[in-house]
């Protein structure tokens, strides 16, 4: 809450970002790992199909 206006303001936005930043970081790393296992380890047609749906079908 911005104390001068009583509205949600910049400080609360930064606080919110700070709160969700660590989970976002974890999510990003997890996605990279999952894609790695999909493409390099599993390397299956299913992975390719999912990537096709995501428009990333030229990968893998």
């Amino acid at each position: 809450m911005d104390e001068s206006t009583g509205e949600p303001g910049r400080h609360s936005l930064i606080a919110s970002l700070r709160r969700i930043w660590p989970p976002l970081v974890q999510l990003w790393i997890a996605i990279v790992l999952v894609l790695f296992f999909f493409i390099r380890i599993w390397g299956s047609q299913t992975a390719k199909h999912i990537l096709h749906l995501l428009g990333l079908d030229r990968i893998g």
Binding site: V25, Q26, I29, L33, R58, G60
Partner: protein, 605 residues
């Protein structure tokens, strides 16, 4: 002895490099760490030694000349090495890091060394055979460094190839292969030095070295004659000094290292321009220096780079008609070059565009580039990938270092260099300095994630690092297993030699027979590297024409007596049928194997 000579030759060249590199120490800032000094001494020294060999080699490249230059460097190198040996206990104590990355680095560098003891084999598809080693072999035979006109790639800037030639002269044909050990280790030193500049300690430096070493493209680009790891070392050292430079002498060193990069590979031309631009931005924006002063310093750096880097370009202009040979299409309009017709240049350009097409040049492809480089480098002729750390952790390293002006310079350089690579030639190896920077930021990002303090974050980041290293090791071991096997087993090496050297029986005959003095090789795809005696190849694989009207066989034969040719090698097989009838007038049939025929020249018009 065949294994010891390459090792001793590399040791000799390394000491000589330390000798020349130590001269650069006076240009280094006082606040440089010991690791920085070691990295600059070795990387800069190897570059300087290569440049000196190349320049002297333009007029004199006998074994005596090579020994004189290497010997001078060796003498200069004794004092700093003795001084370092006196402090060795302290250096070792300060250099130790966590066990795992140290083991990984030692393992990868050892694999490069062991694999590098195997004899080089392969056909014209192997760059080492086609030109990286062909040039040095021919230069040593002729006693002068000149482009081998039937293989236009030997006209490339040749600082590293000049080192190969010195190694070949001192330690035999295996010595340049073993240089993988030296090249990879020195590039890792440059990477570790940059990592410490970004605020990491000895631990970060070791993890950086381990993660870079296990990037399969890096390993590939540092072994089998490829010079890309060495080039990355030159460029990273230039960035290290250039983005921190405040004094005139530091800008001079920036120029010297940029010039060494220029003298090693054409792609460094773009890197040099971009490094200079980024050094300007860093000096003005982060160091708050005036435009005029920075431009003056960078002007001096540019002059230093031009002096060190220009010999190969001037040589090409004088001898071949264009500073960049073979000329890119833009230059081909203005320069008329020797030995290559416009059709041959077009043919070569077509192949370069085909190899460098990557995954298209569109904007969407550029956005997907981090994913594509991580998961499918095969489309970039990528030799196994770049690991997970760049994609997973480097963005957080950039976030963590955002207030650091030096880091901002590196990020700017990585961005513009990647864009330049993307729009020009998307060959995975050519982006090697950026992979190394990405790993360096990845390690900074790993530390940042650990500092965030979440348990899952730490575990996931650790898993990324483990996967990167293990995956990289698997790729590297599978790729270099045959080399290591060949180095350790004479019988396997003989088997591989028979399987992988095309027309081996003919080369053995020609190299053995004392009556053979000069050979005419008719097939453009026969690798001249395996020929120990002078040879003439009328047409090269890219359409180079070494003799006027070389495409016309009769015209070639009419010039044989003047060329001093004593034998003709004709070959068939996958590269086309025999070119000569067995009863060709003026020739006597002397040797035959499947797809191989040799004739002695008896009497020709």
């Amino acid at each position: 002895m065949s294994r010891l000579a390459p090792i001793l030759a590399n040791l000799l060249v390394l000491v000589a490099a330390v000798g020349f590199g130590h001269l650069l120490n006076r240009l280094l800032p006082r606040n440089f760490l010991r690791l920085d000094r070691i990295a600059f001494t070795i990387v800069g020294g190897l570059g300087l030694l290569g440049v000196i060999l190349f320049c002297v080699g333009q007029v004199w490249f006998s074994r005596a000349a090579i020994l004189l230059i290497v010997g001078l460097g060796f003498l200069l190198g004794i004092r700093p090495i003795v001084a370092a040996a006196r402090n060795s206990a302290l250096i070792v104590r300060n250099s130790l890091g966590p066990a795992i990355p140290m083991i990984v680095v030692v393992a990868v560098v050892s694999m490069a060394g062991i694999g590098g003891l195997a004899q080089a084999t392969g056909d014209m598809g192997a760059d080492a055979i086609a030109y990286h080693y062909l040039g040095p072999k021919v230069w040593l035979r002729e006693g002068v460094i000149r482009p081998v006109v039937d293989e236009c790639h030997t006209a490339f800037p040749a600082t590293v190839e000049s080192l190969y030639a010195a190694l070949m002269s001192i330690g035999g044909e295996r010595a340049p292969q073993f240089f993988a050990f030296v090249g990879i280790a020195s590039a890792l030193l440059a990477a570790a030095s940059l990592s410490m500049r970004l605020g990491g300690g000895a631990s970060s430096a070791w993890w950086t070295a381990a993660l870079v070493a296990t990037v399969p493209v890096f390993f590939r680009g540092g072994s089998d004659g490829f010079i890309d790891a060495m080039l990355a070392g030159f460029i990273l050292c230039a960035a290290r000094i250039g983005f921190d430079a405040t004094q005139r002498k530091e800008f001079v060193l920036f120029g010297v290292l940029s010039g060494i990069a220029l003298s090693a590979k054409y792609t460094a031309l773009i890197a040099w321009i971009l490094l200079t631009f980024c050094a300007f931005v860093v000096a003005v924006r982060s160091r708050h220096r005036g435009y005029a002063a920075v431009l003056k310093d960078l002007g001096i750096a540019t002059m230093a780079a031009a002096v060190i880097g220009c010999p190969a370009y001037v040589r090409n202009w004088i001898l071949l008609g264009c500073p960049i040979y073979p000329p890119p299409p833009m230059l081909a309009r203005f320069f008329h070059v020797k030995y290559m017709s416009p059709q041959a240049i077009q043919y070569l350009t077509g192949w370069i565009e085909y190899f460098g097409r990557g995954m298209s040049h569109g904007f969407w492809s550029f956005l997907k580039l981090p994913l594509n480089l991580t998961y499918h480098t095969a489309n970039f002729r990528g030799a196994g990938g770049i690991g997970l750390v760049p994609l997973a952790l480097a963005p957080f390293g950039a976030v963590a270092s955002w207030r650091n002006g030096f880091a901002k310079g590196l990020i700017l350089y990585a961005t513009v260099q990647t864009m330049a690579w993307f729009v020009t030639d998307q060959e995975a190896r050519f982006l090697m300095p950026i992979y190394i920077l990405a790993v360096i930021f990845g390690v900074a990002g790993w530390e940042y994630v650990n500092r965030l303090g979440t348990r899952y974050g730490r575990a996931l980041a650790g898993l990324v690092v483990a996967c990167s290293i293990l995956y990289g090791l698997v790729m590297i071991v599978s790729g270099s297993r045959e080399d290591m096997h060949a180095a350790l087993s004479a019988s396997f090496e003989a088997k591989r030699r028979n399987a992988e050297i095309p027309y081996l029986a003919s080369f053995e005959y020609l190299n053995r027979e004392p009556s053979v003095r000069k050979i005419l090789i008719l097939n453009p795809y026969v690798p001249g590297y395996y020929c120990d005696k002078p040879y003439v190849k009328p047409v090269g694989r890219w359409g180079e024409e070494t003799i006027p009207e070389a495409a016309n066989l009769e015209a070639v034969f009419s010039q044989l007596p003047a060329l001093g040719v004593t034998h003709v090698l004709d070959s068939g097989g996958i590269y086309g049928g025999f070119r000569l009838a067995q009863d060709h007038p003026g020739l006597r049939f002397v040797f035959q194997r499947p797809d191989q025929r040799i004739y002695a020249v008896t009497s020709l018009p």
